[in-house]
């Protein structure tokens, strides 16, 4: 929260916001609870209510793409001002959503942090002056970028908070709240990242490098699924075999990871956001690799993982089949419980190791934004020798499947798990081609 003190951002500390911000500051510096129940905070809620009363103005993906096709100065400024005015409204909705949760829920560890981060983001956004020039826009892009980075601890904090709050919130309500938070977060990020990407495209064009034609903003027009799978596979298989430090005693720690065989319509390309596709594939392959390794701990060669791609008319599908023993855990009743953030549905969420990992990620500066990139970053970091606590380089915090499910369903796709208990798991990921049905898809 150091940015709040930075004099380089005068617009934030102007006028009447000082009271709220001071409040937030006190909150973060001292014990969180006191700040949140503060009367000043209660009476300072007016601005928020004003914004929360406004409707969000969703954009269809078609609008985004068409708008971005011939980007120019005027359009970039319109785009910037849309993001500038739209995001505080959406953040306000989420804040109201948080305020409506039971008191005991928001006072859990992690939840209070999220609330504060949202509140300060809201305040900074609504004070950002109108964008009139490209220079203004550059400042704005930088501001948005910073904010996105600062918010990287939101997911682990929310996940931690909700795990702890599970007894106080029925699983359905908990999961639908989390879903609203994450879907809104993805939307805001799509809007923000798209704007940043468009601004970059314009810059590139001005410098004479014609913007590449393989993407419009953050949407790639011909994303090759096989290449994405192979990319993720290569990264994941280059990790140390005992990466999670969970090998049973006496197991062969020098074996090689499972082969990943890609078949089906292997030349399929489709328009999509690569970060979303790759995050899901990365998480699914990571799970399959790990399950196969643990199930066949004494095998010399691990059975392969099969990824089959199929291209339908409006959708593409990817099926990942492993021989990792299936999903039969005593902690869950059905495979879809693995998508839940409630520990009542998935009690592995209350395991010490998992809570511990969530805590350390939540309090780190880097956090987790659910991208492949950040995981690759942490993988290339020094391994155990320099890590006295023997934590895995990328801790298992249990958000891979729930987040993948949210990413998969975000544009109307689906993610389904089928367990062949005692043998392996089949995962079916279906994603719409973001070129054919853009009208119905709102961001």
């Amino acid at each position: 929260m150091t940015w709040l003190l930075s004099p380089a951002k005068p617009f934030m500390l102007a006028g009447s916001s000082r009271r709220i911000l001071t409040n937030v500051l006190t909150t973060t510096r001292s014990v969180g609870r006191r700040g949140l129940s503060n009367a000043q905070h209660f009476y300072g809620n007016k601005q928020l209510e004003l914004y929360a009363a406004k409707e969000a103005k969703p954009m269809t993906l078609r609008q985004l793409v068409f708008f971005g096709r011939s980007i120019n100065e005027e359009r970039v400024i319109i785009s910037g001002n849309y993001v500038r005015t739209e995001l505080p409204v959406r953040i306000a909705h989420r804040l109201r959503d948080l305020q409506a949760l039971p008191y005991i829920v928001v006072t859990q560890e992690g939840m209070d942090k999220v609330y504060e981060m949202y509140l300060s983001a809201f305040d900074r956004f609504r004070r950002f002056p109108e964008i009139k020039t490209l220079e203004d826009n550059e400042v704005f892009c930088k501001f948005v970028r910073e904010l996105l980075d600062e918010h990287s601890t939101v997911i682990p904090n929310l996940s931690l908070g909700l795990s702890l709050a599970s007894p106080y919130l029925a699983p359905n309500r908990l999961d639908s709240f989390m879903r609203r938070m994450l879907v809104s977060r993805i939307s805001r990020r799509v809007l923000a990242e798209h704007h940043i990407a468009l601004s970059k495209d314009l810059q590139a064009r001005r410098r004479g490098n014609g913007a590449s034609s393989d993407h419009v903003g953050i949407i790639y027009t011909a994303l090759n699924i096989r290449k994405s799978v192979e990319k993720c596979a290569a990264y994941l298989r280059s990790r140390a075999f005992d990466v999670d430090h969970d090998m049973p005693k006496g197991a062969n720690t020098t074996a090689a990871w499972s082969e990943i065989i890609v078949d089906g319509h292997t030349e399929t390309t489709f328009p999509y956001i690569p970060e979303h596709l790759e995050y899901i594939i990365f998480e699914l392959l990571k799970n399959s690799l790990r399950a196969t390794r643990l199930t066949h701990a004494d095998a010399r060669t691990l059975p392969p993982i099969q990824a089959t791609i199929s291209a339908g008319e409006n959708m593409v599908a990817i099926r990942i089949s492993d021989q990792g023993g299936g999903l039969l855990l005593p902690q869950i009743k059905s495979p879809s419980d693995l998508f839940s953030f409630s520990h009542l549905r998935n009690s592995t969420r209350m395991e010490h190791s998992r809570l511990g990992a969530l805590r350390s990620v939540s309090s780190s500066t880097k956090g987790i934004t659910a991208t492949v990139k950040e995981q690759l970053g942490s993988m290339s970091q020094p391994t155990t020798r320099e890590r006295p606590d023997r934590t895995a380089p990328y801790p298992r915090i249990g958000i891979g499947l729930p987040m993948s499910n949210i990413f998969a369903t975000y544009f109307g796709g689906s993610l389904e798990l089928v367990s062949m208990d005692g043998y392996g798991t089949d995962v079916y990921l279906r994603l719409p081609k973001l070129g054919t049905n853009l009208e119905g898809i709102e961001v």
Binding site: T308, M420, D421, G422
Partner: protein, 454 residues
């Protein structure tokens, strides 16, 4: 379930003879409304509603005491004259109650639907069966039991084609009942029938085993096989479906079995046989047709195999032990538009045969099925036999109709799979292939399951 033996020994031709059904029944409507049910030859010796109503009332007041699977199994462990006589008691209390439920359900259908000759025929047959069993004198000796078992066998035979006949009737009544109503009615009729056949055939099998100990195998308790091998069931059904597929489409895919090939589990082979045959018919046909479409009918390019993967439950499993079988083909899958229909009874939605190919594939045929497919590919063949024959009536002579798995293969397979708490799920990779997952509870651990219609 009689079919276990008959099919294994190769003499399987219990055909309803749809031609007869048609000649005796289908004429009905042409005679107009004046023809009361009494003029129908099949109806003559049947009880009138007035005769049967008090008896139905009486049975309706009996509390349901569904037999559990463990009771059914315990009757054969050990098999004694006394346990067979106990088995009769269960049959005589439960089977008439189940038939009574069906009678009441059929009587509750809209009048115009009840006037349909196929539905009328079904009602009459059910009333007869109900009356026979509800008034059957107590079975006190093994001699009595021999007579009773004989009658029971005849009864089971007569009712072999209940579902197809009803289905035909509902197909003709599509204007008077919604697909959902028909579907619900048939679901419960089928579950009811699974229970009736299980109770009856368990008793028949136990009686036979007692009478003829040499025919007993140690692994069987009546119709339940304690060490049923999915691999040998797959091989048996696979070779049948292969022949059928060769005969009708000219070629067939190979079957590959992987996973835990040596697994065995306690199950009722004839249920598994029905399920596997229906799924394999779909997969085979889809694989061959897809292959023809891609490479033409005369090509050296091999047809991709149908891969069956067997997974046996882990002994430390915290959940009910389930054996899973995955059937994976490269038959092109099902388009998303057809997915919602794959578990519908074909005849609940009428379609013309012209668009059958367009919306294509055998899985879609579950939906279009019925008359459409008969009209296009079975005209002149053995009438509705292919469509309506169940496992017992399967036969190569029905040609295309049978391999096409017309009409209700998947929905009915799913009811069989779900009967003891299992499941049947379908996943498609559109344009590539399909996966069917069958999960069956191991029956030696499913003792709490009620043999009932619910």
């Amino acid at each position: 379930m009689l079919a276990v033996r008959s099919c294994l020994t190769g003499c399987c031709h219990i055909d309803l003879s749809p031609r007869i059904a048609q000649s005796t029944v289908a004429r009905g409507p042409r005679r107009g409304f004046r023809s009361s049910t009494r003029s129908n030859p099949t109806v003559e010796n049947s009880p009138t509603p007035a005769e049967i109503a008090p008896l139905l009332d009486k049975f309706a007041t009996y509390p349901a005491r569904p037999v559990t699977l463990s009771t059914l199994l315990s009757l054969g462990q050990p098999l004694t004259p006394q346990s067979v006589l106990n088995s009769v008691k269960h049959v005589l209390s439960e089977v008439p109650r189940l038939f009574g439920q069906r009678v009441r359900a059929l009587e509750g259908l809209p009048f115009i639907v009840g006037m349909n000759p196929f539905i009328a025929k079904t009602l009459v047959a059910h009333r007869k069966a109900f009356q026979l069993l509800a008034t059957y004198p107590p079975v006190k000796s093994l001699g009595d039991n021999a007579n009773f078992t004989e009658q029971l066998e005849i009864l089971v035979q007569t009712h072999v084609n209940d579902i197809p006949i009803m289905a035909k009737g509902f197909q003709e009544c599509s204007r008077y009942m919604s697909p959902q109503q028909v579907s619900d009615f048939l679901d419960s009729a089928i579950r009811n029938r699974i229970a009736v056949r299980l109770l009856a055939e368990q008793h028949i099998a136990l009686s036979r085993d007692l009478q003829n100990p040499s025919s007993r195998t140690i692994d069987h308790i009546g119709v339940v096989h304690m060490k049923c091998s999915p691999r040998s069931m797959i091989k048996m059904c696979g070779s049948f479906v292969s022949d059928l597929c060769e005969a009708t489409l000219g070629s067939s895919p190979e079957i590959v079995i992987d996973g835990d090939g040596d697994a065995t589990f306690a199950y009722i082979p004839v249920h598994l046989e029905y399920i596997l045959t229906e799924i394999l018919k779909n997969s085979f046909r889809a694989s061959v047709e897809r292959h023809h479409k891609l490479y033409g009918p005369s090509t050296d390019h091999p047809i991709p195999p149908v891969v069956l993967t067997i997974a046996s439950p882990n002994s430390s499993s915290p959940h009910p032990a389930v054996l899973s079988i995955r059937v994976r083909d490269q038959g092109g899958g099902v388009s998303p538009a057809n997915i919602p229909h794959i578990f519908s009874y074909s005849f609940t939605t009428a379609r013309s045969s012209d668009d059958a190919d367009e919306i294509g594939g055998p899985y879609a045929m579950q939906h279009v099925g019925g008359s459409a497919a008969i009209d296009s590919s079975m005209r002149g063949a053995s009438g509705t036999g292919g469509l309506f024959s169940e496992i017992v009536g399967r036969g190569v002579q029905t040609g295309m109709g049978t391999i096409a798995g017309l009409g209700y293969g998947l929905p009915m397979s799913r009811l069989y799979a779900m009967y003891f708490g299992g499941s049947l799920d379908f996943f498609s990779l559109d344009g590539w292939g399909s996966d069917v997952f069958v999960k069956l509870r191991c029956l030696d651990q499913a003792g709490d399951v009620h043999i009932d219609s619910s």
